[in-house]
Protein backbone atom coordinates (compact mmCIF):
# COMPACT_ATOMS: atom_id res chain seq x y z
CA UNK A 1 0.00 0.00 0.00
CA UNK A 2 1.54 3.30 -0.94
CA UNK A 3 0.51 6.83 -1.65
CA UNK A 4 -0.55 7.64 -5.14
CA UNK A 5 -3.20 8.56 -7.63
CA UNK A 6 -4.51 6.61 -10.55
CA UNK A 7 -6.99 7.41 -13.28
CA UNK A 8 -7.44 3.76 -14.13
CA UNK A 9 -9.10 1.96 -11.25
CA UNK A 10 -12.67 3.12 -11.70
CA UNK A 11 -12.65 4.06 -15.37
CA UNK A 12 -15.14 2.42 -17.64
CA UNK A 13 -16.99 3.07 -20.78
CA UNK A 14 -19.98 1.14 -21.97
CA UNK A 15 -22.25 0.78 -24.94
CA UNK A 16 -25.74 -0.60 -24.88
CA UNK A 17 -28.06 -1.30 -27.77
CA UNK A 18 -31.73 -2.14 -27.32
CA UNK A 19 -33.67 -3.41 -30.31
CA UNK A 20 -37.40 -3.88 -30.06
CA UNK A 21 -38.33 -6.63 -32.51
CA UNK A 22 -42.05 -6.82 -31.72
CA UNK A 23 -44.11 -5.36 -28.90
CA UNK A 24 -43.29 -8.50 -26.88
CA UNK A 25 -39.73 -9.28 -27.95
CA UNK A 26 -36.65 -7.17 -27.37
CA UNK A 27 -32.95 -7.79 -27.92
CA UNK A 28 -30.33 -6.09 -25.71
CA UNK A 29 -26.55 -6.06 -25.99
CA UNK A 30 -24.23 -4.28 -23.56
CA UNK A 31 -20.44 -4.17 -23.68
CA UNK A 32 -18.35 -2.52 -20.98
CA UNK A 33 -14.68 -1.74 -21.13
CA UNK A 34 -13.06 -1.12 -17.77
CA UNK A 35 -9.66 -1.33 -16.19
CA UNK A 36 -9.88 -4.95 -15.15
CA UNK A 37 -7.93 -7.21 -12.83
CA UNK A 38 -5.42 -8.02 -15.59
CA UNK A 39 -4.49 -4.36 -15.92
CA UNK A 40 -5.89 -3.78 -19.38
CA UNK A 41 -8.93 -2.19 -21.01
CA UNK A 42 -10.30 -5.18 -22.92
CA UNK A 43 -14.01 -4.79 -23.58
CA UNK A 44 -16.27 -7.44 -22.13
CA UNK A 45 -19.67 -8.53 -23.33
CA UNK A 46 -21.67 -8.06 -20.13
CA UNK A 47 -25.15 -8.70 -21.57
CA UNK A 48 -26.59 -10.16 -24.70
CA UNK A 49 -30.13 -11.38 -24.32
CA UNK A 50 -33.52 -11.69 -25.90
CA UNK A 51 -36.44 -10.83 -23.67
CA UNK A 52 -39.99 -11.98 -24.20
CA UNK A 53 -42.88 -10.39 -22.32
CA UNK A 54 -46.14 -12.10 -23.32
CA UNK A 55 -47.90 -10.03 -20.65
CA UNK A 56 -46.86 -6.77 -18.94
CA UNK A 57 -46.30 -8.59 -15.65
CA UNK A 58 -44.35 -11.57 -16.96
CA UNK A 59 -40.95 -11.40 -18.59
CA UNK A 60 -38.58 -14.14 -19.67
CA UNK A 61 -34.98 -13.43 -20.70
CA UNK A 62 -32.54 -15.75 -22.42
CA UNK A 63 -28.84 -15.26 -23.09
CA UNK A 64 -26.08 -13.47 -21.20
CA UNK A 65 -27.67 -11.74 -18.22
CA UNK A 66 -26.41 -9.29 -15.62
CA UNK A 67 -26.67 -10.61 -12.10
CA UNK A 68 -28.72 -8.62 -9.60
CA UNK A 69 -28.92 -10.50 -6.33
CA UNK A 70 -28.21 -7.23 -4.59
CA UNK A 71 -30.37 -4.25 -5.27
CA UNK A 72 -27.70 -2.37 -7.17
CA UNK A 73 -25.30 -4.82 -8.57
CA UNK A 74 -26.75 -5.26 -12.04
CA UNK A 75 -25.99 -1.59 -12.61
CA UNK A 76 -22.69 -1.29 -10.81
CA UNK A 77 -21.15 -0.38 -14.14
CA UNK A 78 -23.33 2.70 -14.46
CA UNK A 79 -21.97 5.22 -11.97
CA UNK A 80 -24.58 7.77 -12.93
CA UNK A 81 -27.29 5.61 -11.36
CA UNK A 82 -26.00 5.71 -7.76
CA UNK A 83 -24.55 8.12 -5.20
CA UNK A 84 -21.11 6.62 -4.58
CA UNK A 85 -17.86 7.37 -6.33
CA UNK A 86 -16.85 3.87 -5.17
CA UNK A 87 -19.57 1.46 -4.02
CA UNK A 88 -18.66 -0.16 -0.67
CA UNK A 89 -16.00 -2.77 -1.44
CA UNK A 90 -16.69 -4.62 1.83
CA UNK A 91 -20.07 -5.50 0.40
CA UNK A 92 -19.72 -5.52 -3.37
CA UNK A 93 -16.06 -6.54 -3.54
CA UNK A 94 -16.87 -10.18 -2.94
CA UNK A 95 -19.56 -10.34 -5.59
CA UNK A 96 -17.38 -11.49 -8.41
CA UNK A 97 -19.84 -13.07 -10.80
CA UNK A 98 -21.05 -10.20 -12.92
CA UNK A 99 -23.08 -12.16 -15.44
CA UNK A 100 -24.38 -15.61 -16.26
CA UNK A 101 -25.25 -17.39 -19.48
CA UNK A 102 -28.72 -18.71 -18.89
CA UNK A 103 -32.27 -17.60 -18.34
CA UNK A 104 -34.42 -15.70 -15.89
CA UNK A 105 -38.10 -15.08 -15.41
CA UNK A 106 -39.78 -12.22 -13.55
CA UNK A 107 -43.36 -12.21 -12.29
CA UNK A 108 -44.97 -9.01 -11.02
CA UNK A 109 -48.21 -8.62 -9.10
CA UNK A 110 -49.97 -5.71 -7.51
CA UNK A 111 -50.28 -6.48 -3.80
CA UNK A 112 -52.18 -3.90 -1.83
CA UNK A 113 -50.90 -0.55 -3.03
CA UNK A 114 -47.45 -1.95 -3.70
CA UNK A 115 -45.84 -4.17 -6.30
CA UNK A 116 -44.41 -7.58 -5.53
CA UNK A 117 -42.00 -9.21 -7.92
CA UNK A 118 -40.36 -12.61 -7.97
CA UNK A 119 -37.35 -13.41 -10.08
CA UNK A 120 -35.94 -16.87 -10.72
CA UNK A 121 -32.69 -17.36 -12.58
CA UNK A 122 -30.18 -19.97 -13.50
CA UNK A 123 -27.17 -20.41 -15.72
CA UNK A 124 -23.44 -20.80 -15.99
CA UNK A 125 -20.72 -18.34 -15.10
CA UNK A 126 -18.07 -17.69 -17.71
CA UNK A 127 -15.37 -15.41 -16.42
CA UNK A 128 -12.03 -15.32 -14.67
CA UNK A 129 -11.54 -13.58 -11.37
CA UNK A 130 -8.28 -12.64 -9.66
CA UNK A 131 -7.22 -14.83 -6.74
CA UNK A 132 -3.90 -13.46 -5.53
CA UNK A 133 -1.29 -14.62 -4.97
CA UNK A 134 -2.12 -17.53 -7.30
CA UNK A 135 -3.21 -17.61 -10.92
CA UNK A 136 -6.67 -16.33 -11.95
CA UNK A 137 -9.64 -18.34 -10.80
CA UNK A 138 -11.48 -19.61 -13.87
CA UNK A 139 -15.20 -19.86 -13.10
CA UNK A 140 -16.06 -21.43 -16.44
CA UNK A 141 -18.66 -24.14 -15.88
CA UNK A 142 -19.66 -22.89 -12.44
CA UNK A 143 -23.43 -23.15 -12.07
CA UNK A 144 -25.56 -20.39 -10.58
CA UNK A 145 -29.15 -20.78 -9.42
CA UNK A 146 -31.17 -18.25 -7.48
CA UNK A 147 -34.29 -16.33 -6.67
CA UNK A 148 -35.17 -12.97 -5.27
CA UNK A 149 -38.33 -11.48 -3.94
CA UNK A 150 -38.95 -7.78 -4.03
CA UNK A 151 -41.72 -5.62 -2.60
CA UNK A 152 -42.03 -1.95 -3.35
CA UNK A 153 -44.61 0.32 -1.83
CA UNK A 154 -44.54 4.10 -1.78
CA UNK A 155 -41.18 5.19 -0.40
CA UNK A 156 -40.16 1.67 0.63
CA UNK A 157 -38.53 -1.20 -1.14
CA UNK A 158 -37.46 -4.46 0.47
CA UNK A 159 -35.72 -7.39 -1.13
CA UNK A 160 -34.52 -10.80 -0.10
CA UNK A 161 -32.50 -13.12 -2.24
CA UNK A 162 -31.01 -16.59 -2.33
CA UNK A 163 -28.25 -17.84 -4.64
CA UNK A 164 -26.49 -21.17 -4.90
CA UNK A 165 -23.18 -21.22 -6.74
CA UNK A 166 -21.76 -24.63 -7.54
CA UNK A 167 -18.02 -24.22 -8.11
CA UNK A 168 -16.48 -26.43 -10.79
CA UNK A 169 -12.73 -25.86 -10.59
CA UNK A 170 -10.39 -25.52 -7.64
CA UNK A 171 -8.98 -22.19 -6.50
CA UNK A 172 -5.54 -22.17 -8.24
CA UNK A 173 -3.70 -21.20 -5.06
CA UNK A 174 -5.09 -24.33 -3.34
CA UNK A 175 -4.21 -26.89 -6.03
CA UNK A 176 -0.58 -27.68 -5.06
CA UNK A 177 -1.38 -27.60 -1.33
CA UNK A 178 -4.35 -29.98 -1.60
CA UNK A 179 -2.24 -32.32 -3.76
CA UNK A 180 0.55 -32.25 -1.15
CA UNK A 181 -1.93 -33.02 1.67
CA UNK A 182 -3.34 -35.99 -0.22
CA UNK A 183 0.15 -37.22 -1.13
CA UNK A 184 1.04 -37.68 2.56
CA UNK A 185 -1.08 -40.80 2.71
CA UNK A 186 -2.49 -39.65 6.06
CA UNK A 187 -6.29 -39.95 6.24
CA UNK A 188 -6.60 -36.82 8.45
CA UNK A 189 -4.50 -34.76 6.01
CA UNK A 190 -6.50 -36.06 3.04
CA UNK A 191 -9.72 -35.33 4.92
CA UNK A 192 -8.51 -31.80 5.57
CA UNK A 193 -7.82 -31.41 1.83
CA UNK A 194 -11.40 -32.51 1.09
CA UNK A 195 -12.78 -30.03 3.61
CA UNK A 196 -10.66 -27.15 2.31
CA UNK A 197 -11.44 -27.73 -1.36
CA UNK A 198 -13.80 -25.39 -3.19
CA UNK A 199 -14.18 -27.49 -6.34
CA UNK A 200 -17.52 -29.31 -6.32
CA UNK A 201 -18.77 -27.28 -3.32
CA UNK A 202 -21.80 -25.03 -3.29
CA UNK A 203 -21.62 -21.47 -2.00
CA UNK A 204 -24.96 -20.32 -0.67
CA UNK A 205 -25.73 -16.63 -0.42
CA UNK A 206 -28.68 -15.17 1.44
CA UNK A 207 -29.27 -11.46 1.24
CA UNK A 208 -31.77 -9.07 2.71
CA UNK A 209 -32.12 -5.36 2.37
CA UNK A 210 -34.29 -2.30 2.28
CA UNK A 211 -34.31 1.07 0.59
CA UNK A 212 -36.18 4.13 1.79
CA UNK A 213 -36.51 7.23 -0.31
CA UNK A 214 -38.55 10.20 0.78
CA UNK A 215 -38.17 13.58 -0.89
CA UNK A 216 -34.51 14.53 -0.53
CA UNK A 217 -33.71 11.63 1.85
CA UNK A 218 -32.31 8.32 0.73
CA UNK A 219 -31.35 5.40 2.95
CA UNK A 220 -30.24 1.85 2.22
CA UNK A 221 -29.48 -1.03 4.52
CA UNK A 222 -28.21 -4.35 3.13
CA UNK A 223 -27.09 -7.57 4.67
CA UNK A 224 -25.49 -10.58 3.02
CA UNK A 225 -24.40 -13.99 4.32
CA UNK A 226 -22.34 -16.46 2.33
CA UNK A 227 -21.88 -19.99 3.61
CA UNK A 228 -20.25 -23.12 2.21
CA UNK A 229 -18.87 -26.49 3.26
CA UNK A 230 -15.34 -25.37 2.40
CA UNK A 231 -13.11 -24.31 5.29
CA UNK A 232 -11.88 -21.49 3.04
CA UNK A 233 -15.25 -19.80 3.17
CA UNK A 234 -17.43 -21.39 5.80
CA UNK A 235 -19.18 -18.12 6.58
CA UNK A 236 -18.79 -14.58 5.33
CA UNK A 237 -21.12 -11.81 6.54
CA UNK A 238 -21.20 -8.37 5.03
CA UNK A 239 -23.42 -5.35 5.09
CA UNK A 240 -23.65 -1.63 4.54
CA UNK A 241 -25.72 1.37 5.50
CA UNK A 242 -26.08 4.43 3.31
CA UNK A 243 -27.71 7.75 4.12
CA UNK A 244 -27.88 10.60 1.63
CA UNK A 245 -29.60 13.97 1.55
CA UNK A 246 -30.12 16.06 -1.56
CA UNK A 247 -29.78 19.81 -1.24
CA UNK A 248 -30.25 21.28 -4.69
CA UNK A 249 -27.57 19.93 -7.02
CA UNK A 250 -25.49 18.56 -4.15
CA UNK A 251 -26.15 15.24 -2.45
CA UNK A 252 -23.81 14.56 0.48
CA UNK A 253 -23.83 11.00 1.78
CA UNK A 254 -22.31 8.78 4.44
CA UNK A 255 -21.75 5.01 4.26
CA UNK A 256 -20.72 2.44 6.84
CA UNK A 257 -19.81 -1.02 5.65
CA UNK A 258 -18.17 -4.14 7.01
CA UNK A 259 -17.30 -7.71 6.16
CA UNK A 260 -16.37 -10.49 8.50
CA UNK A 261 -15.40 -14.04 7.62
CA UNK A 262 -15.04 -17.00 9.92
CA UNK A 263 -11.53 -18.42 9.98
CA UNK A 264 -11.87 -22.16 10.57
CA UNK A 265 -8.32 -23.27 11.21
CA UNK A 266 -7.55 -26.97 11.44
CA UNK A 267 -4.32 -28.93 11.66
CA UNK A 268 -3.19 -31.69 9.31
CA UNK A 269 -2.82 -34.23 12.11
CA UNK A 270 0.73 -34.93 10.94
CA UNK A 271 3.60 -35.03 13.45
CA UNK A 272 4.55 -31.46 14.38
CA UNK A 273 6.30 -29.32 13.44
CA UNK A 274 5.74 -29.74 9.73
CA UNK A 275 5.67 -27.35 6.78
CA UNK A 276 2.17 -28.41 5.65
CA UNK A 277 0.49 -27.19 8.84
CA UNK A 278 2.01 -23.77 8.27
CA UNK A 279 1.01 -23.80 4.59
CA UNK A 280 -2.60 -24.70 5.46
CA UNK A 281 -2.75 -21.95 8.08
CA UNK A 282 -1.40 -19.39 5.61
CA UNK A 283 -3.74 -20.51 2.82
CA UNK A 284 -6.85 -20.35 5.02
CA UNK A 285 -5.80 -17.02 6.55
CA UNK A 286 -5.29 -15.66 3.02
CA UNK A 287 -8.90 -16.43 2.16
CA UNK A 288 -10.24 -14.25 4.97
CA UNK A 289 -11.67 -10.77 4.87
CA UNK A 290 -12.38 -8.75 7.96
CA UNK A 291 -12.61 -5.03 7.52
CA UNK A 292 -14.68 -1.95 8.16
CA UNK A 293 -15.06 1.17 6.08
CA UNK A 294 -16.43 4.62 6.84
CA UNK A 295 -17.12 6.75 3.79
CA UNK A 296 -18.08 10.34 3.36
CA UNK A 297 -18.82 11.85 0.00
CA UNK A 298 -20.96 14.04 -2.20
CA UNK A 299 -22.47 13.88 -5.63
CA UNK A 300 -22.85 17.06 -7.66
CA UNK A 301 -25.28 17.01 -10.60
CA UNK A 302 -23.75 19.87 -12.53
CA UNK A 303 -25.70 19.33 -15.74
CA UNK A 304 -28.25 17.09 -17.36
CA UNK A 305 -26.84 13.56 -17.88
CA UNK A 306 -23.58 14.21 -16.02
CA UNK A 307 -22.34 14.31 -12.44
CA UNK A 308 -19.14 14.66 -10.43
CA UNK A 309 -18.58 12.74 -7.20
CA UNK A 310 -16.00 12.92 -4.47
CA UNK A 311 -15.55 10.41 -1.70
CA UNK A 312 -13.19 9.63 1.17
CA UNK A 313 -13.00 6.07 2.49
CA UNK A 314 -11.33 5.23 5.78
CA UNK A 315 -10.67 1.52 5.85
CA UNK A 316 -9.53 -0.59 8.77
CA UNK A 317 -8.49 -4.20 8.10
CA UNK A 318 -8.42 -6.57 11.08
CA UNK A 319 -6.19 -9.59 11.73
CA UNK A 320 -4.38 -9.21 8.40
CA UNK A 321 -7.48 -10.54 6.63
CA UNK A 322 -6.63 -9.06 3.24
CA UNK A 323 -8.56 -11.26 0.81
CA UNK A 324 -10.05 -8.15 -0.82
CA UNK A 325 -6.63 -6.57 -1.28
CA UNK A 326 -3.98 -7.17 -3.88
CA UNK A 327 -0.27 -7.07 -3.12
CA UNK A 328 -0.80 -6.40 0.58
CA UNK A 329 2.55 -6.19 2.41
CA UNK A 330 2.99 -8.34 5.55
CA UNK A 331 4.03 -5.32 7.63
CA UNK A 332 1.00 -3.22 6.65
CA UNK A 333 -0.85 -1.89 9.72
CA UNK A 334 -4.27 -2.36 8.10
CA UNK A 335 -5.20 1.31 7.91
CA UNK A 336 -5.94 3.00 4.61
CA UNK A 337 -7.55 6.19 3.40
CA UNK A 338 -8.77 6.38 -0.18
CA UNK A 339 -9.79 9.57 -1.94
CA UNK A 340 -11.91 9.12 -5.06
CA UNK A 341 -13.30 11.48 -7.60
CA UNK A 342 -15.41 10.38 -10.55
CA UNK A 343 -17.18 11.90 -13.46
CA UNK A 344 -20.20 10.07 -14.91
CA UNK A 345 -22.00 10.60 -18.18
CA UNK A 346 -24.96 8.93 -19.76
CA UNK A 347 -25.79 9.48 -23.40
Amino acid sequence: MGDGWSGDVDSRIGVQVNARLTSEIEGVVQAVSYYNYAGNYNPELTWAFISYAPDPDLKVRLGRLGRDVYMLSDSRNVGYSYLWARPPVDYFGQLQISHIDGADVVFERQLGEGIASLKLYGGRASQKIPSPPGADFDLDGTRVLGANLNYQKGDWQIRSGYTAIKIKDELPGFVPLLAALRATGSPTAAGLADDMALAGKTLEIVSFGGVYEHGPWQAQLMFNRLTSKSLASSQRDSGYFLLGYRAGKWTPFVTLSAIRSTNDQRGTGLPTPNALDTAVMTALAGAQSRQRTQSLGARYDFMRNADVKIQVDRIRVYDGATFLWRNAQPDWNGHATIFSMTLDFVF
Binding site: Q16, P56, R61, S75, E113, G154, E213, D307
Partner: protein, 139 residues
Amino acid sequence: MRRVASLLLASLLLLASASAAADLVVVTNIASGVDKLTRAEAVNIFMGRYKKLPSGMAALPIDEEGEKAAFYRALVGKELPEIQSYWARLVFSGQGSPPRQMENAGEVIDIVANNKGAIGYVDRKKLSPRVRIVLDLAQ
Protein backbone atom coordinates in the same frame (compact mmCIF):
# COMPACT_ATOMS: atom_id res chain seq x y z
CA MET B 1 -27.66 29.55 -27.49
CA ARG B 2 -30.81 27.51 -27.63
CA ARG B 3 -29.58 25.60 -24.60
CA VAL B 4 -29.05 28.81 -22.64
CA ALA B 5 -32.47 30.01 -23.66
CA SER B 6 -34.13 26.79 -22.59
CA LEU B 7 -32.19 26.85 -19.31
CA LEU B 8 -33.42 30.37 -18.69
CA LEU B 9 -36.90 29.30 -19.60
CA ALA B 10 -36.60 26.30 -17.28
CA SER B 11 -35.54 28.49 -14.37
CA LEU B 12 -38.34 30.93 -15.11
CA LEU B 13 -40.78 28.02 -15.15
CA LEU B 14 -39.28 26.85 -11.88
CA LEU B 15 -39.89 30.26 -10.33
CA ALA B 16 -43.38 30.31 -11.77
CA SER B 17 -44.18 26.87 -10.43
CA ALA B 18 -42.81 27.80 -7.02
CA SER B 19 -45.16 30.75 -6.77
CA ALA B 20 -48.22 29.18 -8.38
CA ALA B 21 -47.87 25.42 -8.84
CA ALA B 22 -49.60 24.36 -12.03
CA ASP B 23 -52.72 22.32 -11.33
CA LEU B 24 -51.62 19.03 -12.88
CA VAL B 25 -54.08 16.27 -13.60
CA VAL B 26 -53.37 12.68 -14.65
CA VAL B 27 -55.44 11.65 -17.68
CA THR B 28 -56.29 8.40 -19.44
CA ASN B 29 -58.17 7.28 -22.50
CA ILE B 30 -61.98 7.36 -22.19
CA ALA B 31 -62.02 3.60 -22.91
CA SER B 32 -59.19 2.69 -20.51
CA GLY B 33 -61.58 1.14 -18.02
CA VAL B 34 -60.11 3.37 -15.31
CA ASP B 35 -62.21 5.98 -13.50
CA LYS B 36 -59.89 6.80 -10.65
CA LEU B 37 -56.24 6.25 -9.85
CA THR B 38 -54.64 6.49 -6.42
CA ARG B 39 -51.39 8.38 -6.00
CA ALA B 40 -49.59 5.07 -5.24
CA GLU B 41 -50.91 3.55 -8.47
CA ALA B 42 -49.71 6.59 -10.42
CA VAL B 43 -46.25 6.26 -8.80
CA ASN B 44 -46.13 2.57 -9.75
CA ILE B 45 -46.94 3.31 -13.39
CA PHE B 46 -44.84 6.45 -13.98
CA MET B 47 -41.82 5.04 -12.13
CA GLY B 48 -41.96 1.87 -14.24
CA ARG B 49 -42.68 -0.40 -11.26
CA TYR B 50 -45.86 -1.79 -12.78
CA LYS B 51 -46.77 -1.94 -16.42
CA LYS B 52 -50.53 -2.37 -16.17
CA LEU B 53 -53.44 -0.02 -15.50
CA PRO B 54 -55.76 -1.07 -12.65
CA SER B 55 -58.18 -2.28 -15.36
CA GLY B 56 -55.56 -4.83 -16.45
CA MET B 57 -54.74 -3.06 -19.70
CA ALA B 58 -51.04 -2.61 -20.62
CA ALA B 59 -50.03 0.91 -19.52
CA LEU B 60 -48.32 3.37 -21.85
CA PRO B 61 -47.09 6.26 -19.66
CA ILE B 62 -46.38 9.61 -21.32
CA ASP B 63 -44.16 12.46 -20.06
CA GLU B 64 -44.61 16.09 -21.06
CA GLU B 65 -41.40 18.10 -21.39
CA GLY B 66 -42.71 21.35 -19.93
CA GLU B 67 -44.52 19.89 -16.90
CA LYS B 68 -42.13 17.03 -16.16
CA ALA B 69 -40.19 18.71 -13.32
CA ALA B 70 -43.35 19.90 -11.58
CA PHE B 71 -45.04 16.52 -12.06
CA TYR B 72 -42.30 14.41 -10.45
CA ARG B 73 -41.82 16.94 -7.68
CA ALA B 74 -45.54 16.66 -6.91
CA LEU B 75 -45.71 12.88 -7.35
CA VAL B 76 -42.54 11.61 -5.62
CA GLY B 77 -40.75 14.73 -4.33
CA LYS B 78 -37.80 14.21 -6.66
CA GLU B 79 -35.87 16.56 -8.94
CA LEU B 80 -35.25 15.78 -12.61
CA PRO B 81 -31.59 14.68 -12.22
CA GLU B 82 -32.77 12.07 -9.72
CA ILE B 83 -35.51 10.87 -12.06
CA GLN B 84 -32.92 10.70 -14.83
CA SER B 85 -30.52 8.71 -12.68
CA TYR B 86 -33.34 6.42 -11.57
CA TRP B 87 -34.14 5.59 -15.20
CA ALA B 88 -30.48 5.16 -16.07
CA ARG B 89 -30.42 2.41 -13.44
CA LEU B 90 -33.49 0.68 -14.86
CA VAL B 91 -32.54 1.06 -18.51
CA PHE B 92 -28.96 -0.11 -17.99
CA SER B 93 -30.14 -3.11 -16.03
CA GLY B 94 -32.62 -4.10 -18.70
CA GLN B 95 -35.58 -3.58 -16.39
CA GLY B 96 -37.61 -1.21 -18.50
CA SER B 97 -37.75 2.02 -20.38
CA PRO B 98 -38.90 5.49 -19.31
CA PRO B 99 -42.25 7.02 -20.34
CA ARG B 100 -42.48 8.30 -23.90
CA GLN B 101 -41.46 11.95 -24.10
CA MET B 102 -43.88 14.48 -25.62
CA GLU B 103 -43.25 18.15 -26.25
CA ASN B 104 -46.51 19.74 -25.14
CA ALA B 105 -50.00 19.20 -23.73
CA GLY B 106 -51.53 18.96 -27.22
CA GLU B 107 -49.33 16.00 -28.11
CA VAL B 108 -50.06 14.30 -24.79
CA ILE B 109 -53.80 14.66 -25.30
CA ASP B 110 -53.53 13.33 -28.89
CA ILE B 111 -51.62 10.22 -27.87
CA VAL B 112 -53.85 9.55 -24.85
CA ALA B 113 -57.02 10.03 -26.90
CA ASN B 114 -55.74 7.60 -29.55
CA ASN B 115 -54.31 4.80 -27.35
CA LYS B 116 -56.47 2.87 -24.89
CA GLY B 117 -53.64 2.15 -22.44
CA ALA B 118 -51.99 5.59 -22.62
CA ILE B 119 -51.71 7.67 -19.45
CA GLY B 120 -50.29 11.19 -19.21
CA TYR B 121 -50.52 14.45 -17.28
CA VAL B 122 -51.48 17.96 -18.34
CA ASP B 123 -52.16 21.34 -16.82
CA ARG B 124 -55.86 21.45 -15.98
CA LYS B 125 -56.19 24.63 -18.09
CA LYS B 126 -55.17 22.68 -21.21
CA LEU B 127 -57.59 19.83 -20.64
CA SER B 128 -59.68 18.34 -23.44
CA PRO B 129 -62.96 16.36 -23.29
CA ARG B 130 -61.20 13.68 -25.41
CA VAL B 131 -59.45 12.39 -22.27
CA ARG B 132 -60.53 11.49 -18.72
CA ILE B 133 -59.13 12.87 -15.45
CA VAL B 134 -58.24 10.00 -13.09
CA LEU B 135 -56.13 11.85 -10.51
CA ASP B 136 -55.79 15.48 -9.46
CA LEU B 137 -52.30 16.11 -8.08
CA ALA B 138 -53.32 19.43 -6.51
CA GLN B 139 -55.51 17.57 -4.03
